[in-house]
Symmetry: C2
Subunit: 345 residues, 2 copies
């Protein structure tokens, strides 16, 4: 089977009908030409994001290929969610170490399962043989936005509350303990939540590297000119409220509450949204969480800092925003959180 | 240096100004957020294409990184050219086997050289460490189109002339003989030509796998319902007119004219356009070629065939469209061309 056979058998045939309403009349050229052509019926801004997954780094060669297909699109949907955009189409780049039809069958099923769920349609891509090397998957996803509205990571303000969706800790704990976890294998990108946060949150990021790392990314983007003037306070008792119940059970009796909290703040692969919003939005955010049936927890606050003011955040200085874990009930002295999270290199 | 350092040093800083006029006011979020956001000022259809290049397959680890950067975007621009679209933005996915700053410096310089040349701007992407494995590059490119106009590969009609731009044979000959070739290292995507062909050509494809392979792709797409009823005649004397002069020099005295012709038809990596058009468009096409200063050669014709009519083109039957090389001057008997070109698996 050559590239064209793979496209035909595993992707073009399974696509069947394009599910996004944008395409009912407006996909002019689909899979199989040099490019797909979309005629978008409305004049809206588009969000574009690319994510790569590499075998041995982001997924395991022995993992169920269905969950790899599902997760590949899920992590891209999560990026679109973090912008407050509405995903509608994606392209797929596949570098395959071997032509394993069983793997392709599972992969494409998982991929189309979540593609249909979110009405986000495969419109094209490329497939290459990658020799004996680990396989990789590159997805570029497109989303639509409302004019003038977007969630950015650089909009954080001093005195903003820091919020997080869902619970924390399960994916990294499942990896560590080799436990089954649907949150790890089939994360739920927070697309509906992202759209509701438009005009409410000041900034937003999706949690892929880990809460502390991703919060630092957001702070660096937002305060690049006055870096060390800013810090974040995180509240221990509030974070305990959003620690995964499964994680608690798995570690039952073997870890302190503080250990659990630090693990949850450091672990990656969450695909929850972390966002900041002014105090006056608290009631509104609580009702958004209720209406979507997604727990939203207020876990911290952005503060002006009184430490050295000369250091700026940028790639060369390597200055890292200060994060302090505080116990309201004085269970421990303030803890300055070290830089953690997934290292790309 | 981590992922963010790489983005900052080699990509964000070099970008300087976005060159495409679409972005002068309309790139709302650029590199560094979860997604880029484009507000497109006009309501046009967009073309989207993804291409992967893998080290050891599409480029060599010892190759000048500038030419790798240049070529990575060139092959994607060529896909957009083949649709008659106008490229305006791209995302870059980089899987790197090691953090080689010398390589990244050259790669990004070559990439931005052609990015500026075509006013096609980098808007985002992803970078991952790929361990000891060969590096790979995935680019997704966006182009704009005029409503209702696109060059498709499935529009070929019986009795259409078959045309090709530029010359053929140099890239594959350079690879075979290890010669320097700017056409191999820095191909010129035919973006201007593609746009001129809108409304003139019936079908179009860019030559990446090789003329005979890509012509067969176009025939399969166009005649999938009546496969073996259709064949293409290719005219030896006309093809000789578009054989690369460099290739002729390199093989001088060692190959027959027929050998040169077959090599040129089989060799990949051309990034010329092959297109079909009705006879009545000949004068118009000749003047398009003159005005763009690009040789356009009429090399064949699509014919109704009188062979078996039951075979259809599709991935499972593996039926291949018949291509016949004919010498008008009767230098040889008609030659039925075998299926050649780059094998993806």
């Amino acid at each position: 089977m050559n590239e064209f056979g793979i496209i035909e058998k595993f992707f073009k045939k399974k696509q069947n009908n394009l599910s996004n309403e944008l395409f009912h009349t407006d996909l002019m050229v689909g899979i199989g030409d040099d490019a797909a052509i979309l005629k978008l019926s409305k004049n809206f801004p588009i969000a574009v994001s690319t994510d790569i997954l590499v075998s041995g780094v982001h997924f395991s060669p022995t993992q169920d290929p269905r969950s790899i297909g599902y997760k590949s699109l899920a992590v891209n949907l999560s990026d679109i969610a973090a912008m407050g955009a509405d995903p509608f189409a994606f392209t797929l780049g596949l570098g395959l170490s071997s032509l394993d039809e069983f793997w392709l069958e599972g992969f494409s099923e998982g991929l189309f399962e979540i593609s249909r769920q979110f009405n986000c349609d495969l419109i094209g891509g490329d497939t290459v043989s990658n020799g004996k090397s680990p396989s990789f998957i590159t997805i570029t996803i497109l989303g639509s936005l409302i004019l003038g509205k977007a969630l950015r990571r650089d909009g954080m303000m001093i005195e903003d509350d820091i919020w997080v969706s869902g619970d924390l800790g399960e994916p990294s704990a499942a990896l560590l303990l080799s436990r089954k976890s649907s949150k790890l294998s089939k994360p739920s990108p927070r697309v509906k939540l992202g759209k509701e946060l438009l005009g409410v949150a000041n900034s937003c990021i999706d949690l892929s590297d880990g809460f502390t790392s991703d919060l630092r990314h957001m702070m660096k983007s937002s305060f690049s000119d006055n870096g060390a003037d800013v810090e974040a306070e995180l509240y221990f008792e509030d974070i305990l409220n959003c620690i995964s119940k499964k994680m608690r059970t798995w570690f039952s009796g073997t870890r302190t509450e503080l250990d659990l909290c630090l693990s949850a703040l450091g672990g990656g692969d969450e695909y929850e949204l972390c966002f900041s919003a002014p105090e006056k939005r608290r009631t509104e955010l609580e009702s958004i969480g209720k209406s979507l049936n997604i727990p939203l927890t207020r876990v911290g606050k952005v503060k002006a800092s009184d430490t050295i003011k000369t250091v700026k955040f940028n790639a060369s200085t390597k200055a890292e925003p200060k994060l302090t874990l505080i116990s309201r009930n004085k269970k421990f002295d303030n803890i300055s959180l070290p830089s953690m999270g997934f290292k790309h290199f």
